[in-house]
Amino acid sequence: MSTVLDILGTAMMTAGTGFLLMAAFAFWRLPDLLSRLHALTKADTAGVALIVCGAACMTSGIAAVLSLVLCGVLVALSGATTGHLIAQASLEDEERA
């Protein structure tokens, strides 16, 4: 049982790291702000969520799992909101210009 969970966890964490790397690569290569945001917010949230799930598989104890979930939820919330804010600010700047 534990080996299955370990393998599952490692796989999820690897996938999550891959997502984060992809987000970083996109941030580097994509041309403008909105497309960067588009790539970043989704890949970032998915990557952190996968890592959280993977880590949750590998830990024991409800407290650790709960704090991991809290981390994931916070990242998802703040990522979405800041992305929204940045997009809106850039739109306003464009309108003014």
């Binding site: 703040s78 909101t81 804010l85 600010a89 306003e92």
Partner: protein
């Protein structure tokens, strides 16, 4: 395996630091600096110093990064002075020599720290079981008091030299729900950090920084407008209360025990928690004010 991780981390830290120092784009430089802060915090967790890692992530990377980002747009880019290649090369060579000297100096002597046995011996009397908190608020509380004085002086300086204020973000439909979640959470987490600081990583500075993060979310969402003199006044009074209460506590201890900052026998924990509670609020208020600039009345 862990060694490979450490090596990657060390290389990563230096690489990101190079980006932070030499990037042409200001925002990229500040971003790299923040990433460096988080990587360094990670390395300090590896080195068994979680208290410092928390502080570096929250204050060193987070708040300093936010401050730098605030200023990056406002500061005029100064025209690049043509520096002679020779002076740059000379400075580079001197730095390389300096690095070598420093490395040799650090590694040539095996350090025998005088403190660990002393801390271990006295930890029981200190009232708390987290050694870092014991050092900060009991053994070397005088350092901490002066550190609060540094925050106080910086606040006075920022008030005397007012800058234009932070423009709140355009309120979108997501901001208010976000602030509704984040602010209570930051209060909760900061209270947790404060309480747990007695026995585990945490304490007034980390708690204050988290609380300041929540406060900044309020300010940036436009929910807390410091234009109202009342709010600015309350925030400023809270900020000043840190040094005032810590100083008054020092006077009180001197009167009670005859030793400045020597807590009465058996009551150390209560004193420490009381001081830390006030410090948390004061540090949070100071950091918010330092970020936000002071209230500047523009004559119109």
């Amino acid at each position: 395996m862990t060694q490979l991780f450490d090596a990657l981390l060390a290389v990563g830290i230096v690489g990101v630091a190079v980006a932070a120092l030499f990037a042409n784009d200001r925002f990229a430089a500040v971003g790299a600096f923040m990433v460096m802060g988080f990587l360094v915090a990670l390395s300090w967790v590896r080195l068994g110093a979680p208290d410092v890692a928390l502080a570096e992530a929250a204050i060193g990377a987070g708040l300093t990064g936010a401050l730098l980002l605030r200023s990056a747009r406002r500061l005029r880019v100064e025209p690049k002075m043509c520096q002679s290649r020779w002076s740059v090369a000379a400075s580079g060579l001197i730095s390389i020599g300096f690095a070598g000297l420093l490395y040799a100096a650090i590694t040539s002597v095996p350090t025998v720290p005088a403190y660990p046995p002393l801390v271990a011996e006295r930890l029981g009397e200190s009232g708390v079981s987290n050694p870092v908190t014991a050092v900060l608020l009991n053994f070397r509380a005088w350092d901490t008091l002066l550190e609060i004085a540094v925050l106080f002086v910086a606040l006075v300086l920022v008030i005397v030299v007012p800058v234009s204020r932070v423009r709140p973000a355009p309120l979108g439909e997501m901001v208010v729900p976000f602030a509704k979640v984040v602010v209570p959470l930051s209060v909760l987490i900061s209270g947790h950090l404060l309480w747990q600081g007695a026995d585990a990583p945490g304490g007034a500075f980390q708690a204050g920084a988290v609380l300041a993060g929540g406060g900044l979310a309020l300010v940036l969402a436009g929910a807390m407008r410091l234009k109202k003199p009342l709010q600015g006044g309350i925030l400023r009074a809270t900020a000043l209360s840190g040094l005032a209460v810590f100083g008054a506590a020092a006077v009180a201890t001197a009167a009670l025990t005859g030793h400045l900052l020597g807590y009465p026998d058996g009551q150390a924990k209560i004193w420490i928690l009381g001081i830390e509670a006030v410090l948390t609020l004061a540090i949070a208020a100071t950091l918010v004010l330092l970020f936000h600039g002071s209230v500047r009345r523009v004559p119109k």
